[in-house]
């Protein structure tokens, strides 16, 4: 085992709404602040909002993720939210997946038996059942069946399922929206990271295993010789599978990239599905269009300088904020 040197990142996640008309009342729920994990340290973190909200509250949601609520009571025609953070990610690649528990044994452990469950098992059952974006149908268990022959260690099965989804599905941002049901994704064999995460979660839950949805960012590498572009990245989603005894009892899988997240994935929040932790969810009164523009820039601090121009943009952000 090599020594575990953390990797440091600087992340900017900027969302801009140009409403094309006055919004008289607006409330927003933000899942934009990163969660603290055994392998993730938050060095610095800040959310800047323009215009200045009339009201703000910070807290934790029911799954332990940081959450911020803001409200605007005065008319405004645009909204810009910039979440800026620097985080350290410690290498945590799980090893020896084949030593994980046979999946049937884990399934039976999670099933109700009228005796008090292990606390970590009870915790995991929060991610065992249907949720709004993850409907469970027997077709899903059928789809995953060949990855989970009898006695397969649960993480080996999960890795096979991840590979299967990666192989059989095509990444296609045009094919789906945030509300496309899992069954439709299964049929079309197309989608984006949210869809693949939901699909993999649904398959695992259909087998009686606990799986949760993880939102965050992924470091992307510019083509060789080209500078890193501002805003070229996007928010990302992957899956975490319950495996007692491994790490913090959960092991991450990224079906979009067919890999086990290590130091290039930055975690923001975990939930049952997208609905629990959507980065920015709001209700507005008035305004015209409400299609946001989202820019994410992930910069590894130790490898290179900030992309050109990013520094200036960041320093001008808060001062620019206008009073409504």
């Amino acid at each position: 085992m090599m020594e575990k040197e953390p990797v440091r990142y600087h992340v900017v996640h900027q969302t801009t709404y140009d409403y094309g008309g006055n919004v008289s009342l607006s409330q927003q729920q933000l899942h934009l602040s990163p969660r603290i994990l055994a392998w993730q340290r938050i060095v610095e973190q800040n959310i800047e909002v323009t215009p200045t909200p009339t009201w703000r509250r910070d807290g934790d949601d029911a799954f332990g993720n940081p959450v911020t609520w803001i409200a605007f009571h005065v008319p405004h025609d645009s909204l810009r939210i910039s979440s800026v953070m620097s985080v350290e990610v410690i290498p945590h690649l799980p090893e020896n997946l084949e030593t994980s528990m046979p999946w049937e044994e884990l399934r039976d452990r999670l099933a109700y038996t009228a005796v008090p469950p292990e606390p970590e098992d009870l915790d995991a059952t929060r991610f065992l059942f249907e949720s709004a974006h993850v409907r469970i149908k027997h077709e899903l268990a059928d789809y995953a069946a060949d990855c989970f022959p009898p006695e397969t260690p649960v993480l080996v099965g999960a890795e096979a399922l991840m590979a299967k989804i990666f192989k059989e599905f095509k990444f296609d941002p045009e094919a789906t929206t945030v509300s496309t049901p899992v069954m439709e994704v299964l049929e079309k064999k197309r989608g984006v990271c949210q869809d693949f995460a939901h699909l993999m979660i649904a398959c695992l839950r259909a087998l009686g295993l606990s799986a949760r949805y993880v939102s965050g960012y992924l470091l992307t590498r510019p083509p060789p010789g080209k500078p890193r572009l501002i805003g070229a990245d996007a928010s990302h989603a992957w899956v975490s599978v319950y495996a007692p005894g491994f790490g913090d009892n959960w092991v991450d899988f990224d079906p979009t990239n067919n890999l086990l997240p290590n130091t290039e994935h930055i975690t923001i929040a975990v939930g049952r599905d997208f609905g629990d932790i959507s980065p920015l969810r709001g209700i507005i009164l008035g305004g015209g269009g409400a299609e946001p523009e989202v820019e994410v820039t992930v910069t590894p601090l130790d490898e290179e300088e900030l992309p050109e121009g990013l520094e200036e943009r960041l320093s001008t952000l808060p001062e620019e904020a206008e009073k409504p």
Partner: protein, 854 residues
């Protein structure tokens, strides 16, 4: 009943009792509420039975008619009132009460209160520590597996530690006479209002019996509910608790009850869009600005209450409500998230939970319940499928209960497969042979029918524990063999009479005694939505009156002309078209009675924009939204209007029948006007209603007259007559001038005479006065040019209209000048309407939207 001739009377009643019971079979498989197994009348039923025995059949018929009339006239409905598809089912009530003796009720009541206490403690645990799950007393799937478990509510501690403020439970009696729990209602239990309405009707059907039997009153229960909620209001300083009743709106199947309870409890009826969150505080949008709300009694399902954090696509909710709850600044009754305990699967775990939490046994058992999520239970269900009822585990699942023995062949295999695939989503219940009770037969002379009955009982949280309604909503099945009683499936209801040995509480909510300092003069807390709907109620009342008049005038002339298109008919049709009352007519369609001619469509076709039917529908729609503010009589008239229209839709009316229909409809219209002018309190809400009527009539008159003047070919005799008739001014004209109508006196009467309520100047100056009053009371100025246009109209030189020949108005400059002034007046009316809308209304159409970014 005097004891003068006891022997004879006994003989008589014996004979008659046999007639009463001639088709009332007893069954060893069912408990009978009224008779013992030997066929004796039970002691607590005896007096009532004897009374039934003695009522003259004619008298009984009258009483039944009274029941039907009350229900129809009060508009007591179960489902939608002004449903666009016209569906409207009256509430079904059997006049015979279900009678329950004191000692028996004491047990039932204690059991209901205990159950409410246990369920409340469960909610506290599940939305907090979740020790019940850690102890293995409840399967996680019944909590985490339900969409009804609202994660965003986890960790919230409601004021007073009360989650379950209102609880209802469906009870049934097994053949041995024991009461059992069939289902728990923890979301937003319905029916208490219907129980109250049933009581008001039935106590009038049997007034002597109601008094003599010492029936416990219901008012104390509702008073407890008021007190219980007021005690949980997070008031500050000298604030009075402001409690509102939140309804999803008139589409809801129990909307009648929401409006009814709102009036009875004195809680304003609000919809989600009436409320707004600012920071940590919840407000009601009222005419006078935002007013803080402390308590929501909700009849809206919890997951629809806050689109920011719960079901996002819902336009019904109040964005940000959860944060107000988190801040402890509002009480929502029941607490959000309470609906999950209605799950039938949870019932089986309740005895152990009650023991664990309170060290008590449950006082009333629940019917045998097997949750298929447990292996042995699943095996049992498969083996005993024919003896069980299969239900969904979670209240949010859409599935009707299925009787195992009824399911054959492929359907049976299919359900078994579905259960096998997702066992935790299904629960099986033992079939209950409900007890039977008497209902009054409507198709026989003095006969009782035996029908299965069940009882829904109610409890409310008070500061000293749960208070149980002495009575409840008794429900009877329609057929003798029916197994499920459901109002949706055509069941009927009964009043439940709980007798007492002690004195009957004389408390009544209907006429509470108030002191001088409680006196309220103005309608406080008038919500902007109510104001908006009253305004539109006014506009639609007038609009439908105007179009009915125009249509009647047209039809009348048409019938007189034997269906031919005389010049007069052509002129009226043209005007009707210009005013949008008639659609564009196809020129040469012959007018045939009974055909679907445009005139009939303009009357009866609700789909046609501007038709009378669509105006009536809009009128009913806005009336439904302010139902709690209309008097019973007012409401009766609206009901009559709807019945007229529904009846007309079914028939194929001739032109003559259509005229008769218009006559009847106009009769209703004038009674509506009467209520508005004579019966409503002159508060701000009323003023908006009247301004609505005002604006509409002013617009109609101004447009009609200016159009008429500008129309060519109006020289046919008779044109000025119908213009007078249309403006309901023909009688006045004839009494003033005993000659054929001429332009100058007609215009004087219809435009300038400020004593004619169907005159332009009259309406415009009235509107002007209301605007002045608003400027004074609400400190708000419309900036309207109405006073200016009005004074120019008043200054118009009438002499310039002398000696204008019939039908030559288009060529007369002063006629056109007048027409222009009238059009200007119409425009300022439109402007005023827009201004009112901008300034005071919620904009019912302007709905919040969800936005989402990745």
């Amino acid at each position: 009943m005097s004891g003068c001739e006891p022997a004879l009377q006994n003989v008589n009643s014996g004979v008659m009792a046999r007639t009463l019971l001639a088709i009332y079979p007893q069954s060893p498989r069912r408990f009978d509420e009224m008779l013992t197994s030997d066929g004796e009348v039970r002691p607590h039923w005896r007096k009532f039975f004897e009374h039934l025995d003695q009522v003259d059949p004619e008298e009984m018929r009258r009483r039944l008619e009274f029941v039907d009339r009350r229900i129809q006239e009060n508009g007591v409905t179960y489902n939608v009132y002004a449903d666009p598809s016209g569906a409207d089912r009256p509430w079904a009530l059997d006049p015979l009460p279900l009678i329950i003796p004191p000692e028996e009720w004491a047990k039932v009541s204690a059991a209901v209160a205990q159950r409410a206490k246990v369920l409340n403690a469960m909610l506290a645990d599940l939305y907090g520590e979740q020790k019940l799950l850690a102890d293995g007393l409840l399967p996680p799937s019944l909590v985490f597996g339900q969409h009804g478990f609202l994660w965003p509510c986890h960790g919230i501690k409601p004021i007073g530690g009360t989650w379950l403020h209102n609880y209802a439970v469906d009870l049934a009696r097994s053949p041995d006479g024991k009461w059992w729990v069939i289902a728990d209602r923890t979301q937003a239990p319905s029916g208490a209002g219907y129980a109250l309405e049933n009581r008001l009707v039935v106590s009038q059907v049997f007034p002597d019996m109601f008094r003599d039997l010492n029936v416990q009153h219901l008012a104390d229960f509702f008073h407890d509910q008021q007190d219980g909620l007021a005690a949980l209001a997070p008031v500050e300083g000298d604030e009075q608790p402001h409690i509102v009743l939140l309804t999803p709106g008139p589409y809801n199947e129990t909307y009648f009850e929401h409006a009814y309870l709102s009036r009875y409890l004195g809680f304003p009826l609000v919809e989600g869009q009436d409320l707004t969150v600012r920071g940590d505080t919840l407000y009601l949008k009222t005419l006078h600005g935002l007013e803080r709300v402390h308590v929501i009694l909700r009849r809206q399902d919890d997951d629809y209450c806050d689109p920011l954090e719960l079901r996002g696509a819902s336009a019904l909710g109040i964005p940000g409500l959860l944060n107000v709850i988190r801040a402890g600044r509002v009480t929502v009754a029941n607490a959000l998230g309470s609906g999950m305990l209605s799950s039938g699967a949870i019932m089986g775990f309740l005895p152990a939970i009650c023991r664990k939490l309170f060290g008590e046994e449950l006082l009333m058992p629940a019917v045998g319940t097997w949750w298929c999520g447990e292996k042995p239970a699943l095996e049992y269900v498969k083996k005993n499928f024919d003896d069980l009822v299969i239900k969904p585990s979670y209240p949010t699942q859409r599935m009707d209960p299925v009787f195992g023995f009824e399911l054959k062949g492929a359907a049976r295999v299919d359900l078994l497969q579905r259960i096998e695939a997702r066992p935790h989503a299904y629960v099986a219940q033992e079939m209950v042979n409900l007890s039977q009770g008497p209902t009054w037969s409507r198709s026989h002379e003095r006969r009782l029918l035996a029908r299965p009955v069940g009882l829904r009982a109610y409890a409310v949280a008070t500061s000293s524990g749960y208070s149980v309604m002495p009575g409840g909503l008794a429900r009877v099945a329609t057929g003798a063999g029916t197994r499920i009683i459901s109002m949706q499936r055509g069941g009927a209801s009964k009043d439940a009479w709980v007798l007492t040995d002690g004195p009957v509480s004389a408390f009544t909510m209907l006429k509470p005694s108030l002191g001088v300092r409680d006196l309220v003069r103005e309608g406080a807390n008038l919500s902007s939505r109510v104001v908006e709907n009253l305004f539109w109620l006014g506009r639609y009342s007038e609009r439908f009156d105007d179009s009915a008049r125009l249509l009647r005038v047209t039809l009348g002339r048409l019938v007189e002309a034997g269906g031919g298109r005389t010049p007069v008919v052509a002129t009226i049709l043209e005007l009707g078209k210009q005013l949008g009352v008639l659609p564009k007519p196809e020129e040469d369609t012959p007018v045939v009675a009974g055909s679907d001619h445009i005139l009939l469509e303009a009357i009866y076709d609700p789909k046609q924009p501007g038709s009378l039917a669509s105006n009536i529908r809009s009128l009913l729609w806005s009336a439904t939204h302010v139902r709690e503010r209309l008097s019973l009589d007012h409401w009766h008239s609206l009901n009559r209007l709807q019945r007229e229209q529904q009846a007309a839709l079914k028939a194929h009316p001739t032109l003559t029948e259509a005229i008769a229909f218009l006559d009847r409809v106009l009769g209703v219209s004038s009674s509506l006007t009467g209520f508005a002018m004579d019966n409503m309190t002159r508060d701000d809400g009323w003023r908006f209603l009247i301004i609505g009527r005002n604006l509409e009539r002013l617009s109609f008159l101004a447009k009609t007259i200016s159009q008429f003047v500008r129309m060519p070919k109006t020289n046919a005799p008779g044109n000025l007559e119908w213009l007078l008739e249309l403006s309901d001014s023909i009688i006045t004209y004839r009494s003033r001038y005993s000659r054929l109508p001429e332009l100058l006196p007609v215009l004087d009467l219809l435009v300038f005479d400020d004593s004619n309520p169907h005159g332009v100047v009259f309406q415009a100056s009235m509107l002007s006065r209301y605007l002045e009053r608003m400027a004074r009371d609400l400190d708000d100025y419309s900036g309207s040019n109405l006073p200016d246009v009005l004074s120019r109209l008043r200054a118009f030189d009438l002499a310039s209209l002398e000696d204008i020949p019939l039908g030559e108005y288009v060529n007369c400059p002063s006629c056109l000048e007048l027409a222009d002034l009238l059009i200007e007046l119409d425009r300022s009316a439109v402007k005023i309407s827009e201004w009112l809308g901008m300034r005071y209304f919620t904009h019912v159409g302007d709905v919040s939207r969800q936005t989402m970014a990745l």
